[in-house]
Symmetry: D2
Subunit: 398 residues, 4 copies
C-alpha cells in the first residue's frame, strides 16, 4: 500500500501564517531546519502515527490577488525573518500550492475584510450557494491531487463578532439559516459547514465563528467528523494561561491585568476595525476569569503599529495582592514573530486532528485545548493542565 | 480533649521573614487580614485537618541582638509594608514570642554571618555540643509552653555552600562528623539534627545545607519524622518554574536565560558575600536544565541595592528560538516584597508538615516540592506538576 | 515693612494634586521634609527673591463635597504615600485652608465633571455671572486674609477639548462670548478671566483651555499680568521631551512611539471620558513632531485601572531606525506617584510666577516652558533647552 | 585642484565596528542607504566643509587572521543586520581595504587580547620599536595611496585598566617610558603616539588608555595636532547622559542606578575578562556623579550572552525619591545593535576631526564630548549640553 497523500486546504492561503506554514513545511521536507516550535515533534508524541512532511499537498481559498512568493518575500524583507536559503528553496513548493488556490467566499465578512478582496471574487446569492462553491473546490482538489484525506484550516482574517443569539443551536436551524437571504453565518462558518458535510475535518485557527455553534458541531457528529478551535494561542494569551494558574495556586489576588499588544502586519490592520478587534479581545480576555475563579479588572488592547511588521510586542502589567494585602507587580514584555509562532501549530493541529480522525473521534476536540485561546470541547484553560490532557490523550491513543 | 498547642520554633527569629510571619500570624488571629497568599487556605485543602492560627506558639533561635518589635517597625517604615493597625495590634504577640528567643548556634556559618552575631552568642567546642544546646532549648520550649508538637523552621541567613563531597551519606557518618573538631556540617544541619533527633519535623526555608545530606534524611526516617526543603520559591525562580515548562511544551528552544535580582534587606547583604551567594545562585539556576532537558546559557545575579529595602526587583531576559530558527524574546520584571511573599509559605509549610506527620510520613516530603527552589524528595521541577502533586496528596490524605 | 502675605487660590482645591501640595507645604513649613522635587530650591535659583513657605495662605474653589482631611487620608491609605507624621502635622494647616474653600463654577465643563459636583453648586445664567462670582470670592479671600498678592492655580479636572475655531482671538471677542447664553468658554477660561481682570496671575496646570486663547492673553497683557500653562509635565511626557531630542541629535529615525498610561485616581476616572481624554492625549502627543521635525506613528493611551490608585505606570515603546536602516527598540516603564510629582511643581510655578510678576513680565511666560506639556509663549519643546531658558531667565532677573 | 584623498586608518580593522563602518561607507558611496544615524549629516552641520564619502581610503592594523568579508558575513548571518544587497555591493570596497591591513601591535594588551592574536603577529623588543613599526605602516599607507591626510581611529578591543599613577604627565616622561623594557603604556597609547608624532589626528573610540595621559596630549599640542576620545557613547551610557540631567533639573534624588548589559559579540567576550571589563565599567559608571553632583549607589554589569550576537540589551533600573521622600522607579530596556550604533559615529568623528584639524585646533577636542562616555577636554557630561557645544562650535567654525 502506498503512503497516503494528505491535503491541507487553507482558508486565507496567502496570509502571513499560511505562507510561513508553507515555507516552513518546505524547509522541513528539505531538511533545512530543525523541528523547533513543533509540538508534535516532542518525545511525548513520538509513538503516534503522525503524517510525514512529504505526505502533505496544499491548496486553499483566498480573496486577495497576490502570490505566495510575494508574501514570503515581504515577510523576509520587512520583518527580517525566514532565512534567504529557506526562502529560495521553497519556490517550487509555493508554486505548486499556488496552482491550488481558488477565490474565497465573502459572505458576511464585514466591510474591512471585503475591502481587501480582489474585485473579481464572486459574491453568492445565498449562503448555501457559497457552501456549494466551497465544496466544489474541495472535491476538485481531492480528485486532482488524488488525496486520501483533506483537512481544512481556517487561517483567514478575523471576522467581526456575531451576536451569539443568532448562533444555530441545531443543525436543522443552521440549514434553515443557510437558505435565508440574510443568513447571519459568516464565511468562516460556511467554510466549516462545507468541509464537515464532505467529511473533512475543520480547524479554526482564528477567533471567527467557524464551527463554534452547537448546530455545526451537531453536523460534525452526524458525519463522524472532528473539528478543533478556536483562536490559536501563540503569545500574550499563552503567557496568561501559563501565569494565571500560578497566582491561583499561590492564593495571590490578581487585582488588575492589563495587556497592550502592538504589531504591524495585515492581521493587525484588520484588527484595527473595532468590530473585528472585538472578536479577538474577547478571546484574549475571558480566560482570566475561568482560571482565577473571579474577574480582575482587565484590559486588552491591540494596535496596528506599521513599523513592527510581523513582530508582535505585548506588554502585560499584572497588579496583585499578597499577604497582608501588599500590592506587588509583574510586568512582561513579549517580542515574538507572530507568523512564526503560529505556523508550526498549524502543522501540529493538522497532524493531531488526523490521528483523532483515524481513531474515530468526533465533534470538537477538547484535547487540543492547549492550542487555543477559546478552546472548544473543554473547560480547562490553564496551559499546563491542557498540555497534560494532550499527553494523556496521546498515551491513550497509542 | 483540649485543642492541641503547636510550637513553631524559628531559626533566625528576628529576621525579615520571621517577623513578617509573626505579624501576619497575629493579624490572622485577630481577623485583621484575609487569607491572601496562604496556599493552605485554598478550597483544595479545605478538608484537611489544618492547625488553626490560634493554636500556634512561637519561639526560636537568633544571633543578633535586636527585638521583634524593632524589626517589624523597620519593615513598616523602610519598605512601606504592613499596615499601621496590623503592626500595632501585633505588639503583645511579638512580646510573647520574644520571651521564647534563645541565642543561636554559629558553627561553621562563615565570616559574614558571624559578623552579624552579638558578641555574647556562645561558640561550642564541638558540633555535638551545639546540637545539645539546641535540644535543651527545644525541650525547654516544649515543656514551658506545654506543646503537643514542635515544628522547627530554618529562616536563618543563607550559609556558604558546603562542598558536597563532605555531606554524610549515612547517619553513622554524620554522627562521626559531629564529634570531629573540624566538623564540616554548618549550623543549619546541626539545627536539623537537633530537631529530628527529638522527633520534631524540620523545614528548611533557605538554601543552606540543613537536612539535605542522605545521612540526615536517614536519621529522620529512623525517627519516623518528616522534613521538607530547600530554599523557598517566592519570586524569580517561581516564575522560572512556571514559564520554563511552557517553552518545553511548545518545543521552543531556550538559548539563554538571564536573571538579575536586586534588593536591599539584610538577606541581600549576607548574599553579597560571594560564598553565601553561591548557595543561592546554584539553587536558583539549576532547575532550568531539569525542566528543559538541556542547559541553556544562564546567568543569575543577586545584588544588594540598599534603597530597595525588602522590595526585590528581578529582571529576566529569556532569549529563545522558534520555528525556522527565529530568535524571540521574553522579558519579565518582578517587583515583590520578599518577606511578604515568604511569610505565608512558612505558615503553609508548618500546617502541611503537621498533616504529613500525623499521617506517619517520614523523610523528605517531595509532595511539598512546589514550595522550594531545590525540592528534596522529588524530581519534579515544573510548578504546575508540583502543585498537582500537592493537591493529589491532599486528596489522598483526606 | 512686614513680610508680604501671598495667597494661592486653587481651582480644584480638594483634588489629589492640591491636597498633596497642601500637605507638602505644611511639611516644608514644619521642616519635616527636605526640598526634594522642588525645582525652585536648586542652587541655580538660590539668588532669586523667592517667597518663603510660611508666607503662603491657601484657599480655592471646589465642586465636590468632601474635606481636605479625607482626601489626604485617602492618598495615605490607598496609595501608600505621605508619611503618617507629615499627615498628622498638617491637620491645622488643612483646616485653615478648608475654611477658604468656596463652591466652584460648572460652566461648560461637560457631563463627566458635572457628575462629580455636589448638587448645591450653583450654575449661573451666563458666563459673565460666573466670572463675577469667581471675582467676588477672590476679592473676599484677599481682604479677609490681608494678602499682598494672590496667584490663581487651576488644578481642576481636565475639561473636554474645545473646538479651536471657537477660541476668541481678541479680548473684545472674548467679552462678547461671555455675554452669550451659549458661551463656548469652559470654566477654566472663566476662572482665568476672573483672575486676570483682577490683576492676579493665573497658572494652568491642566490641559483645559484656561488662558490659552489669544483673546485672554490679550487681557493679561492689557492688565500687565502674566500667566503660565498648559498641562504640567510630570511623567511620560517629561521623558518624551528628554529622550526625543536624543534621537534627533543622533539622527536616529523614530518610526513609532507608543505610550500606554494606566492609573487609578479621580483624575484617571475623569480622563476615562473620551472627550476629556482627548484634551490630555493631544497635549501628550504633539511634542514629538515639534522636537523631531517629522511625525512618527504615535499612540498614547490613558486608562483607569482602579487598583493603581495615584500610581501612574507608563510603558513606552520607541521603535527607531539606525544606520543602514537597522530597526532598534527602547522601552521605558515609569512608575511614579502622580500627585507627588505634580505638587512641588505647583509651588515652583507659584514662586517663579511671583518673581516674573515682580519684574513686570506680562502675558504667557514662555520661560516656564519646562514645566508644561503644551507650553504657552515658547516654541521650545526639548526639556534641556527649556531648562536652560529658565536658568538664563533666572540669571537675567537677578 | 583635485579633491583631497583622506585616509582612515583603523586599529582593529576586522572588528565588528570597523567592518560595519566599511560596509556602511560603501553603501553611502553607492547611494544604497540614507544618512540615518550620521550626526554630521544633520542640518546643523550642512555648512561645514565635510569630507565626502568617496574621498575616503581605508586601511588599518589587526591582530586576528580573518577577512573583512567573513566578518561582514558573520554580522549579516548571526545578528541579522546589514541587508543582503548592501553586503554584496560592498565586496570590492572591502577587498581594497583588506589590501591595506597590516599586523597590529600587542604591547601590554593583556592575556585575553593576546589570545585572540594570530601567532605570526610580531612582538617588539621595546615599545619604541612598536611605535616605529606603526609609523612605517602609516607612512607606507599615505604614500601608496597618495593621501592628503590620514586619521587614525582606535577600534581595537578594550585593554585592561592601566594604573593611573603610571600615566606619563609630560611628553618627556612618556618618551622615557617608551624606551623601558617594562613600558607600562599599552598598545592603544603606542598607536596614539605613532599617529601624533607623524602629525596625524587620533581618535580613541574605546575605553583603552590611548592619548588620555597628559604627556601624550602634550605631544599632540607640540605637533599642532588634535585628538579625541574616549569610549564612544552609543547605548546605555548615552541614555544615562540624557536622563540623569532630568533628575538633576527636577531636583529628584537618584538613590540607586543599576544597569545590566548583555550581548554576545567578540567585544563582549573580551569584556568578560574582569580586567578588561574594569575599563569599560569605570567609563560607564562615572558620569552619574559628574552630572548629579553626588554619587548614588550604582552598579554596572556587562555579561557575554552568546545567543545575542551583536545585539546589546541593557536593562536599567533607576530608583529615585520625589517630593515628601516618595520612592519611584524608572526602568529602561535598550535593544540596540552595537556595531550599527557605533559605525556612523566613527564616520562623524573622522569628519569633525578633519574640520578641527583644518581650523588648527590642537590637543583633546572637548567639543566632541557628546560622542564619548569619558570625554577628554571637557567637563560637560550631560548629552544636551554636549550637543549644544558641538553645534556652537560648528557655528563658530563656519
Ligand atoms: N500568531 C498568530 O499569527 C495568530 C494567532 C492566533 C490567531 N491568528 C489568526 O490567524 C489568522 C491569520 O493570521 P495572519 O497573520 O496570517 O493574517 P493575514 O491577514 O496575514 O492573513 C489572512 C488572509 O486571509 C485572507 N482572507 C480574509 N478573508 C478571507 C476569506 N473570507 N476567504 C479566504 N481568504 C480570506 C486575507 O486576504 C489574508 O490573505 C487571523 O485571523 C489571525 O487573527 C493568528
Ligand atoms: N522571599 C524570601 O524572603 C526568601 C525566599 C527564599 C529563601 N529565603 C531565605 O530565608 C532566609 C531568611 O530570609 P530573611 O529575608 O528573613 O533574612 P534576614 O537576613 O532578614 O533574616 C535572617 C536572620 O537569621 C539570623 N541568623 C543568621 N544565622 C543564624 C544562626 N546561625 N542561628 C540563628 N539565627 C541566625 C540573622 O541574624 C537574621 O536575623 C534567608 O536564608 C533567605 O535566603 C527567603
Ligand atoms: N502629575 C499630575 O498629577 C498631573 C500632571 C499634569 C496635569 N495634571 C492635571 O491636574 C489636574 C488635577 O489633577 P488631580 O490628580 O489633582 O485630579 P483630581 O481629580 O484629584 O482633582 C481635580 C479636582 O478638581 C475638582 N474640580 C473639577 N472641576 C472643577 C471646577 N470646575 N471647579 C472647581 N473644582 C473642580 C474636582 O472635584 C477634583 O477635586 C487634572 O486636570 C490633571 O489632568 C496632573
Ligand atoms: N557600540 C559599540 O560597539 C562600542 C561603543 C563604545 C566603544 N566600543 C569599543 O570599540 C571597540 C571595538 O568594538 P567591536 O565591537 O568592534 O569589537 P571587536 O572585538 O569586534 O573588534 C575589535 C578588533 O580589534 C582587534 N584588536 C584587538 N587588539 C588589537 C591590537 N592591539 N591591534 C590591532 N587590532 C586589535 C581584534 O582582533 C578585533 O578584530 C571595543 O573596544 C569596544 O569596547 C564599541
Ligand atoms: Na499573524
Ligand atoms: Na493626578
Amino acid at each position: 500500500m502506498s503512503t497516503p497523500r494528505i491535503g491541507i486546504w487553507i482558508i486565507g492561503a496567502r496570509g502571513g501564517v499560511s505562507v510561513t506554514t508553507l515555507v516552513g513545511l518546505s524547509a522541513l521536507r528539505n531538511g533545512l531546519t530543525p523541528e523547533t516550535g513543533l509540538v508534535s515533534c516532542l518525545a511525548e508524541f513520538a509513538h503516534l502515527p503522525l503524517t510525514n512532511w512529504d505526505q502533505f499537498v496544499v491548496g486553499g481559498h483566498e480573496i486577495r490577488s497576490s502570490t505566495l512568493q510575494d508574501e514570503a518575500q515581504r515577510l523576509h524583507h520587512d520583518s527580517r525573518v525566514i532565512e534567504a536559503v529557506a526562502l529560495e528553496k521553497s519556490q517550487d513548493f509555493l508554486a505548486s500550492a499556488e496552482a491550488n488556490i481558488r477565490p474565497g467566499v465573502l459572505w458576511n465578512v464585514g466591510p474591512t475584510i471585503r475591502d481587501l478582496a480582489s474585485p473579481d471574487v464572486a459574491v453568492e446569492k445565498s449562503a448555501r450557494d457559497a457552501v456549494d462553491r466551497v465544496q466544489a473546490d474541495l472535491r476538485d482538489f481531492q480528485q486532482r491531487e488524488r488525496l486520501d484525506n483533506v483537512v481544512v484550516v481556517n487561517l483567514a482574517s478575523t471576522e467581526a463578532l456575531v451576536d451569539s443569539s443568532l448562533w444555530p443551536e441545531t443543525w436543522e436551524a443552521a440549514e434553515e439559516q443557510l437558505g435565508q437571504p440574510d443568513c447571519p453565518l459568516p464565511a468562516s462558518s460556511l467554510y466549516a459547514i462545507g468541509a464537515l458535510e464532505l467529511g473533512m475535518p475543520y480547524i479554526n485557527f482564528t477567533p471567527s465563528l467557524g464551527a463554534t455553534p452547537k448546530g455545526i458541531d451537531e453536523l460534525a457528529r452526524k458525519k463522524n467528523i472532528c473539528h478543533a478551535g478556536r483562536d490559536a494561542k501563540t503569545g500574550e494569551t499563552l503567557l496568561k494561561s501559563v501565569l494565571a494558574p500560578m497566582f491561583a495556586s499561590r492564593n495571590l489576588e490578581v487585582m488588575s491585568w492589563v495587556g497592550h499588544n502592538i504589531f504591524g502586519n495585515l492581521d493587525g490592520k484588520v484588527l484595527s476595525d473595532p468590530d473585528n478587534k472585538a472578536s479577538k479581545v474577547k478571546s484574549k480576555d475571558q480566560l482570566l476569569e475561568r482560571i482565577l475563579g473571579y474577574a480582575p479588572q482587565s484590559l486588552v488592547s491591540i494596535e496596528h503599529i506599521a513599523s513592527l511588521g510581523d513582530w508582535k510586542t505585548a506588554w502585560d502589567h499584572v497588579h496583585f495582592r499578597g499577604f497582608l494585602q501588599t500590592p506587588m507587580t509583574l510586568q512582561l514584555t513579549w517580542q515574538g514573530c507572530d507568523s512564526l509562532l503560529a505556523a508550526p501549530l498549524v502543522l501540529d493541529l493538522v497532524r493531531f486532528v488526523l490521528v483523532a480522525q483515524e481513531r474515530g473521534e468526533t465533534g470538537a476536540l477538547g484535547v487540543l485545548g492547549s492550542f487555543f485561546k477559546s478552546p472548544l470541547g473543554t473547560d480547562r484553560h490553564g496551559f499546563a493542565e491542557q498540555t497534560e490532557d494532550l499527553i494523556a490523550w496521546a498515551r491513550r491513543s497509542s
